[in-house]
Symmetry: C3
Subunit: 133 residues, 3 copies
């Protein structure tokens, strides 16, 4: 079992950051050929998702889409003012499970792994655990 | 491997219930130091999420936010009238994977584990399986 | 460990397809009694969810509900025109973890496993890995 914490610097209030290369580097370091890669996001205004990585417009549209329907100006109770970010975190989810086969992440042709920043810019962390099965 | 079914009593039509303490008790009972904790919700109008637990306003705002954009009065076909609850269940997800390290749940500073009741009040169950890895 | 790729033919632009029987057949073929079943969707305009399977109206209402709040006509940047499908994919999630006990999927009474087609009709694939624990 190989476990590390990956650091991600985000640069906008809300954005998707492609972390696939970082996770692939962890997989190579683990020398595990078959198993699972579990990614866990320990933040409450961020998430993890897998989606299209070929066209950067998709990740922009994902943020635009969320901002169209998650209420941004609703009179929420939480005084920090970032309740929309907490809602987006729950909609996206806090962890990902990716299968590992032949020493590679079993992703689809167009899939990349994204860290979803909903309350940045910040320095964020994701726990990456790769286990043989 | 340690598996139990945790019982949760909900008291409102829609609410988030912090079940972190119950899951931590299961982890202690398991005596497992390193591994994974998989939580599975067997209900179709409920979910599981990880979000901020420090300020109770966040869990209230999560329900308020969902009720702002999931259509509550749309003429759905399902005759039981709880289609909005089924939609919220799919948006939230039916399971959680939490890493276990040094006999503790590897949660972020502000993170708690919540059972999401979308069609209560009811007595609900969550399957908790803790496995060594 | 038993891993296969399940093929799913979808027939509408957006629909939920019950794949529970296909996954149960894989579980029987695996001869694994206790463990986990991880399903992974390698597509970026599709998802996997667990919800009510008894009344077919629920799966219809899930699509109707998503189409009510995910903006379908927003001026997205992605030129393929299927950004709403990518957004639904992220809202639903790309994988499912189901517990296996006594050689059966540990699903609730009303739960079925659905492949969520958001940009069909197409021939789709889902990776199914069943591991003993």
């Amino acid at each position: 079992m190989h476990q590390t914490t990956v650091t991600i610097s985000t640069h906008q209030h809300m954005e998707l950051v492609d972390i696939t290369t970082q996770i692939q580097a962890e997989l190579r370091a683990s020398q595990i050929a078959t198993g699972t890669c579990i990614l866990f996001n320990p933040h409450t205004t961020a998430g993890l998702t897998i989606n299209e990585g070929a066209d950067p417009a998709v990740r922009t549209d994902l943020i635009k889409g969320l901002r169209q329907f998650v209420p941004l100006d609703y009179p929420f109770q939480h005084q920090e003012g970032n309740s929309p970010s907490h809602i987006m975190a729950t909609l996206t989810g806090s962890s990902l499970t990716v299968l590992v086969e032949n020493g590679t992440l079993l992703l689809g042709t167009w899939q990349k792994i994204f860290f979803c920043e909903y309350d940045g810019p910040r320095t964020r962390k994701v726990v990456c655990r790769i286990s043989a099965s």
